[in-house]
C-alpha cells in the first residue's frame, strides 16, 4: 500500500514537471516565432494544413502554426500575470476581512457580492473599457474580476485558523497580531495560495481569450488566440476550417494541461483532499 502511494505521488511529480516544461517551451517558442507570425507572403495564402505548414496558412499567407504558438505564448503570459495579481488580491482582501474587524469584513463582503452580481464577462468588459482596452485593459479586467470566490475561501480559512488552539495560546502569551499572522497563519495559507493560483490560470486564460474575441481585449494586430478565432469567423463558410479548429484546439489543450497540473499539485500539497 505504501509502495503504491509512493508510486502515484512520484508519477504526479513527474507529470507536473513535464507539463511545466511543456508550457514553458510553448511560451518560449511563441516569443521566438512572434516575428514569423506577422510575416505575410501572398504566394502561399489560404493553404490547408500540410507538412510544410502544419496548421495551414491564412488569407495573407501567414503561417498559422507560428501564429498559434505566438498566441498561446501571449495567453500563458497574460494568464500568469493575471493569476498572480488576482490571487494576491484575494489573499490580501480575504485576510483583511477576517482579521481587521467587522467593518472591514462587511466592506469586503460587500465588494465580493457586488463583483459576483455583475455577470462575469460583463464585469471584465466594463473594467477593460475603463482601462482603455488593449493589453492593460484585459490584464486589469481579468485580474480585478477573479478574486472574489478565492477571497471568500481565504476569509473562512483565516477565521477558522484564528480559533485554532495554537493561535489562541499565542494570543494569550502576548504575541502581536502581526507576528501571529506571519508565524501561525501565513504558513497555513501558503498551500491555499499556490493551488488557488494554479487553478486560477485556466479561468484567466479562457477569459482573456473570450474578451479578446469579443473585441474588448488585445488589439487586432496582436496574434492572440481570441483575435485569430474572431478573424477566422469570416472564412468559415468558405471551408477554411483549419483557421478556427487548430488554434482553438491548441488553446483548449494548454488550458487542460494547466487544469490537470493544478489538480495534481493540489493533491501533492493537500493530501487530505486526495482520497481518490
Amino acid at each position: 500500500m505504501i509502495e503504491k502511494n509512493w508510486n502515484s505521488r512520484k508519477s504526479a511529480i513527474l507529470f507536473v514537471t513535464v507539463a511545466v516544461l511543456l508550457l514553458a517551451a510553448v511560451m518560449v517558442a511563441g516569443i521566438v516565432f512572434s516575428t514569423k507570425a506577422m510575416q505575410t507572403d501572398f504566394s502561399r495564402k489560404n493553404q490547408s494544413p500540410s507538412f510544410s505548414f502544419l496548421f495551414g496558412t491564412d488569407w495573407m499567407g501567414r503561417d498559422m502554426l507560428s501564429r498559434t504558438l505566438a498566441g498561446l505564448s501571449l495567453s500563458i503570459r497574460i494568464g500568469l500575470l493575471t493569476a498572480v495579481v488576482s490571487t494576491a488580491l484575494a489573499l490580501l482582501l480575504g485576510t483583511a476581512a477576517a482579521t481587521l474587524g467587522s467593518k472591514a469584513d462587511a466592506a469586503v463582503s460587500w465588494c465580493i457580492d457586488l463583483c459576483m452580481g455583475i455577470p462575469h464577462i460583463l464585469l471584465v468588459i466594463l473594467i477593460s473599457l475603463a482601462f482603455g482596452k488593449g493589453f492593460i485593459g484585459v490584464v486589469a479586467g481579468v485580474s480585478l474580476s477573479h478574486w472574489p470566490s478565492l477571497a471568500r475561501i481565504v476569509r473562512s480559512e483565516v477565521l477558522q485558523l484564528r480559533q485554532a488552539p495554537y493561535v489562541m495560546t499565542a494570543e494569550k502569551l502576548g504575541a502581536s497580531r502581526f507576528s501571529i499572522f506571519r508565524r501561525h497563519i501565513l504558513p497555513h495559507l501558503f498551500p491555499q495560495f499556490l493551488t488557488g493560483l494554479i487553478l486560477q490560470f485556466p479561468h484567466a486564460i479562457l477569459h482573456e481569450a473570450s474578451v479578446t474575441f469579443l473585441g474588448f481585449g488585445l488589439p487586432p494586430e496582436q496574434p492572440a488566440i481570441g483575435v485569430i478565432l474572431s478573424e477566422s469567423m469570416r472564412y468559415l463558410t468558405t471551408g477554411k476550417w483549419w483557421l478556427a479548429v487548430l488554434p482553438g484546439l491548441s488553446l483548449a489543450a494548454v488550458t487542460l494541461l494547466f487544469s490537470v497540473t493544478g489538480n495534481c499539485l493540489r493533491r501533492l500539497l493537500d493530501p487530505a483532499s486526495a482520497q481518490e
Binding site: P119, S210, G248
Partner: protein, 330 residues
C-alpha cells in the same frame, strides 16, 4: 415563519442596495474609460471635416460636457421612475431595447438552463453512483474537457459541423434572412436557436455534474444509507428514496446561483451566432461606448443574478431545516 419573512426582507433590502452599488460601479467604470465615443463611432476622418459647432452638438449628444456626478444622479433619478434613458446608438428607449433583446435571449438561456441542469444532474448522479469505474471516469473527463474549452471555440465548432459541413441548421440570426415578420414560423425560430442553446447547455453541464457527483458520494457514504442497506433495501430504492431527494434540492439551488455564468455564456454564444439577444446588444453597446444601454443591461442582468441568488437563499432554508433554525437562532 416570521423569521423566514425577516430573513427574506433583509436579503431583499441588501439586494436593492447592491443593485444601486452595481449601477454606480458600472457608471464609474464606463466614465473612467479613456475611449472617446466620438472617435469610435464617427471616426477621425469624419470629425476632421466637421465644423466646430457640429462637433459640439455631437459632444453634447454623447454627454461629454456634463459632469459625471450630475449625469449619474440624473440617470438614477429617472431610473428610479422606470426610465433608463435613450440608447445613443439605437436612438430608442433603453428599456424598450432590453425588452426586445431579452425576449430573444430568454429563449436561449431558459432552455439551456433547464437542459444543462437536468443533464448535469443525471450525469453527476451517474458518476457518483459508479464512483471510480469507467462511467465516472468518462463523465469526469468530459467535465474537465468542457471546462477547459473556450466557449466561443465550441460555438465555432458547432457552427462549422452543423451549419457549414452538414448544412442542416442555419448559420446565424434568429429568423431567416429577408423573411418578413409575419412569415416566420415557430419552427424557424427554434431552428435558429438550437445551436446557441446547445453551446450554452453543453458548457453549463460541468459545474452541476461535478457538484452532484460529490453530493452523491457523500450520500452513499452516509450512515442512513448504510442503515438502509443493512435493512435490506434494494439499490434502486436507496437511490430513489435516499439519494435523489438529498441531492436534487442542493442541485436546484446551485442552478439558481449559476445564472451569472449562463448570461456570460450567452454573451459569447450570441456574438458567434449573430443572434440578436441581450448579450449581443451588450457587446455592441460596449464597443460603441453607448453608456445608457450598457448601464441598463448591466443593471438588468445583475438584477437577474441577484434574483437567482435570492431564490437560492430562500430555497436553502426551505430545503434544509438546519439552516432555517440557525438563521432563526441568530
Amino acid at each position: 415563519m416570521r423569521h423566514r419573512l425577516q430573513f427574506a426582507g433583509k436579503k431583499l433590502l441588501r439586494m436593492i442596495l447592491l443593485l444601486l452599488g452595481v449601477s454606480l460601479a458600472a457608471f464609474l467604470l464606463m466614465n473612467a474609460s479613456p475611449l472617446d465615443p466620438l472617435q469610435t463611432n464617427i471616426g477621425q476622418a469624419a470629425l476632421g471635416s466637421m465644423s466646430q459647432e457640429q462637433i459640439e452638438v455631437l459632444e453634447a449628444y454623447w454627454g461629454k460636457n456634463t459632469p459625471p456626478a450630475e449625469r449619474y444622479l440624473q440617470w438614477l433619478g429617472s431610473a428610479l421612475r422606470g426610465d433608463f434613458g435613450d440608447s445613443l446608438l439605437y436612438r430608442r428607449p433603453v428599456l424598450q431595447i432590453i425588452g426586445e433583446r431579452l425576449g430573444g435571449s430568454l429563449w436561449l438561456m431558459v432552455s439551456a438552463w433547464i437542459l444543462s441542469g437536468v443533464l448535469g444532474f443525471l450525469l453527476g448522479a451517474a458518476a457518483g453512483w459508479t464512483r471510480g469505474k469507467w462511467p465516472d471516469r468518462l463523465i469526469r473527463g468530459y467535465c474537465l474537457l468542457i471546462s477547459s474549452t473556450p466557449v466561443f471555440w465550441l460555438a465555432i465548432l458547432l457552427l462549422l459541423v452543423f451549419a457549414v459541413w452538414l448544412g442542416i441548421l442555419p448559420i446565424g440570426l434568429s429568423v431567416p434572412i429577408g423573411a418578413d415578420a409575419a412569415s416566420v414560423t415557430l419552427a424557424d425560430r427554434l431552428a435558429h436557436a438550437i445551436l446557441p442553446a446547445l453551446t450554452l447547455s453543453v458548457t453549463g453541464v460541468a459545474n452541476i455534474a461535478l457538484h452532484t457527483r460529490e453530493k452523491m458520494i457523500d450520500v452513499l457514504e452516509s450512515d442512513y444509507v448504510l442503515f438502509a442497506r443493512a435493512r435490506g433495501e434494494s439499490k434502486s430504492s436507496i437511490l430513489l428514496r435516499h439519494g435523489l431527494r438529498n441531492m436534487a434540492l442542493p442541485a436546484i439551488t446551485l442552478q439558481f446561483g449559476s445564472i451569472s455564468e449562463i448570461i456570460g455564456g450567452s454573451v459569447i454564444a450570441e456574438q458567434v451566432f449573430s443572434y440578436p439577444g441581450l448579450g449581443q446588444a451588450a457587446v455592441s453597446a460596449g464597443l460603441g461606448s453607448d453608456m445608457p444601454l450598457l448601464l441598463g443591461i448591466t443593471v438588468v442582468t445583475a438584477a437577474l443574478v441577484f434574483g437567482g441568488n435570492f431564490i437560492a437563499d430562500l430555497l436553502y432554508g426551505v430545503i434544509d431545516p438546519r439552516i432555517r433554525r440557525r438563521a432563526a437562532h441568530k
